[in-house]
Symmetry: C2
């Protein structure tokens, strides 16, 4: 079986670029250095320099920044098909930390690998820039969420975004998805206390919108949840390839 043809990253990039055989070969080469990491131990520390990037192939990771006072802001979660630290390859020092939420599998990508791949296949560079742009659009949404959305809309938006992202790599749909996050992860991502997270989830469940329980998110009324969240998935740009 062709590992890359079915890798989550390939599925994801295919949403943007119809990949040629030559591009698939280069993408396959980027997946060569396979690594595993255990849950709960940082793969990359904030401020670390000279580190590689990773392509996540299985499992979930969170990226976060610690503040001098010890509080943690989770910036985003990474799911299969996402890059970890793509930015750091270019920025030389990592501007945040990465922690696997469960045991994960990832391919290590050295800066030199990436620059060589870009030189060989500019379309692949464009596709990876697309993925990076999409990651940034998500961070912008998280900024808007924390700055401007109330707790319920924030949570609803968050659960819907994850659902769309997972659907792109074949791991979820409008019915729901498996999700290993704890209420502490949600709290640190959404700027809420764990108690508040619990209360908001109960409210959404009692309103017949969504249930998050036992590692699974179940959408009961996807349409009404979208409305509550003001969720417009345009920023995720999943409508089909631009580069044919």
């Amino acid at each position: 079986m062709n590992i890359t043809a079915t890798s989550p990253l390939t599925r994801k990039l295919s949403a943007f670029v119809v990949l040629s055989e030559a591009e698939l070969v280069v993408l396959r080469r980027l997946h060569q250095r396979r690594r595993t990491f255990v849950a709960g131990r940082d793969m990359v520390h904030q401020g670390q320099s000279g580190q590689a990037a990773y392509i996540l192939s299985a499992g979930w990771v969170c990226s976060y920044k610690l503040q001098p006072d010890g509080t943690r802001q989770i910036v985003d979660f990474q799911v299969p098909g996402d890059f970890l630290g793509l930015r750091s390859v270019l920025l030389r020092t990592s501007d945040h930390s990465f922690e696997p939420i469960v045991d994960i599998e990832a391919a290590e990508v050295l800066t030199s690998d990436l620059l060589e791949a870009f030189a060989q296949t500019p379309r692949l560079a464009t596709a990876i820039l697309w993925a990076a742009s999409r990651d940034e659009a998500m961070v912008v949404e998280h900024l808007v969420g924390i700055g401007r959305r109330d707790a319920e809309a924030r949570m609803a938006h968050f659960l819907l975004e994850l659902g769309s992202r997972l659907a792109l790599v074949g791991m979820g749909g409008k019915e729901g998805y498996d999700c290993p996050l704890t209420q502490y992860h949600l709290a640190d991502a959404l700027g809420l206390s764990a108690v508040h997270v619990n209360r908001v989830l109960r409210q959404l469940r009692e309103d017949g919108l969504v249930t998050f329980r036992d590692g699974h998110v179940t959408f009961h009324d996807h349409g009404r949840l979208v409305e509550l969240a003001g969720f417009d998935p345009g920023y995720l740009d999943q409508i089909g390839p631009l580069l044919k």
Copy 2:
């Protein structure tokens, strides 16, 4: 005079890549379609599709998202040398709006221009990816600021970041910089009320740290301000070119 050799974008990208003559030619071509825009009128609307990106050569712009309830979250400000809507070229619909804060000059960049430039000069593609990564790192800092920093540290961090960014394109230094932002811009960017912005600025001034008045930011004690903000400029990655 060679316009591109002295363009703010060239200065900025040179912090990352030592540009060859061939790369400068491609970069010059990206600056061909020069446009002006007047203050206060959106250049790009949230949700607009098929629009160009711009390279800002003079003036300031803000990027923002409007919420359904009409509140506005400013995501970032763009200064000379920054791209406007680089992400939107790839993501097809703009995920936010751009509004000139003063009258500006910008070069229009079509998607086809950009993809052609990438194909011709992969190193330039890498440099632009670097700039996009750096933009994302700034949005991450704004997320952390709103999520985790108190109002004074948030303001201090914001003013220091702008100072570093402007220094990179020769428009500011550790003494200060010209800044056309109003207290309403600061409020919408930092998630504070205009009254609160006013109070925080007064406090910082009375503490002998920084004054923002009459369109100018003056750092009185850059070192102490850095300490107050917990400002670590590593994420701006301005220490000199990686690609020689």
